[in-house]
Symmetry: C2
Subunit: 216 residues, 2 copies
């Protein structure tokens, strides 16, 4: 046996399969957000996850498998908090909608990192059928949730589908602009605009004061 001091072989550390998969996926998302898809080379991913490139092949088969897993994780991280916020807001339809909107444009989600990450994947969704399916599923889940929230509203003069599409587009656009040009808005402005515009689209009384109920 070769003494540790003389062997430059990387120490052999075991871990659970779940932990390894999670670490590798997290490394991909970090790298993509920092330097674009190009930065997420297998070697860089492995280094950040503290393992060796071969392990990626062991767990994900090839690079496409890794990227697909990372994309699924990203979509969940974007959509789930909004659904959870609505559910946590109780039963009042207006409060539920306001909570959903506020969560969608939460400063954490508005981070340019997330937008960059999302954009970096978009072009792949057009050519990779698996990614495309994941994209459509996530997008429609979000829009359907929005449509359900709108349908539960007391009075809305627009068909729920139309209102959901328009409101969803408004959220997407604000999320995009807020994430890409953070210094173009004063803090909280993006959320306020979303609530104002949503109120006008849906014939609702002003929603803005609802979001300011988070006192210290």
């Amino acid at each position: 046996m070769i003494p540790a001091a003389l062997s430059d072989r990387r120490p052999y550390l075991r871990d659970s399969e779940d932990a390894r998969r999670a670490a590798l996926v997290a490394a991909v998302l970090d790298l993509v957000a920092e330097g674009g898809v190009d930065a997420a080379t297998l070697r860089a991913v492995a280094a950040r996850a503290g393992v060796t490139p071969g392990l990626i092949r062991h767990y994900f088969g090839d690079k496409d498998g890794l990227m697909r897993a990372a994309y699924g994780r990203m979509m969940a991280a974007m959509v789930d908090p909004c659904l959870a916020a609505a559910d946590a807001a109780g039963v009042d339809p207006v409060a539920r909608l306001a909570a959903f909107l506020a969560a969608a444009l939460d400063p954490a989600a508005l981070d340019g990192r997330t937008v960059t990450l999302w954009a970096a994947y978009i072009h792949r969704t057009r050519h990779d059928p698996a990614l495309r399916a994941a994209h459509e599923a996530g997008y429609l889940a979000f829009r359907d949730a929005l449509e359900a929230l709108i349908a539960a509203l007391p009075a809305c003069h627009l068909p729920p589908r139309v209102a959901a599409i328009a409101l969803n587009a408004l959220l997407d656009g604000l999320w995009l602009e807020g994430g890409l040009l953070p210094q173009g808005f004063v803090p909280g402005e993006v959320q306020r605009i979303a609530l104002t515009a949503a109120a006008r689209l849906l014939d609702l009384p002003e929603l803005t004061e609802l979001s300011e109920t988070e006192g210290p």
Copy 2:
């Protein structure tokens, strides 16, 4: 002199500097739209433009120079038609706005190719200062034009800045969704939703019939 039949050297064809730059930039945009940024290698770009990789270096210095030029061209192709449509619509503020909106969501602009192209560049705008400046300039030009159109409107209960941001976000989102999920909408639906939502946001009478004045 070696007979042409024996020389496999590519025929030497001269062209103007403008034509060469335009051909190379067009080749970049085509390739990026088709296969993402990865597909736009210097060799592939040169082949599509009918030249040799060395020419790219001659005209653009390095790959970054090429990509910057292509980005500027893309932004102009997205923004200019909207400005032109508004100017061509005469002096009525409402007609001008409707024309601008319709142009922004024109089927040609709504092509998934354009969205893909745009997304493919986004992550670079976060790290490349020159691209970032180009992005901000194009974005703000668009939004300022929108704000000017809104400010000229007869009555608007929203501050022009807020209305412009919201409407711009709505356009961005619809453009995104329409381009990425074309089969998720019936033809013309995206434009109709944009006009309906804009009318509600701006306290305007319905705008939808304005876009249907294009009879044969």
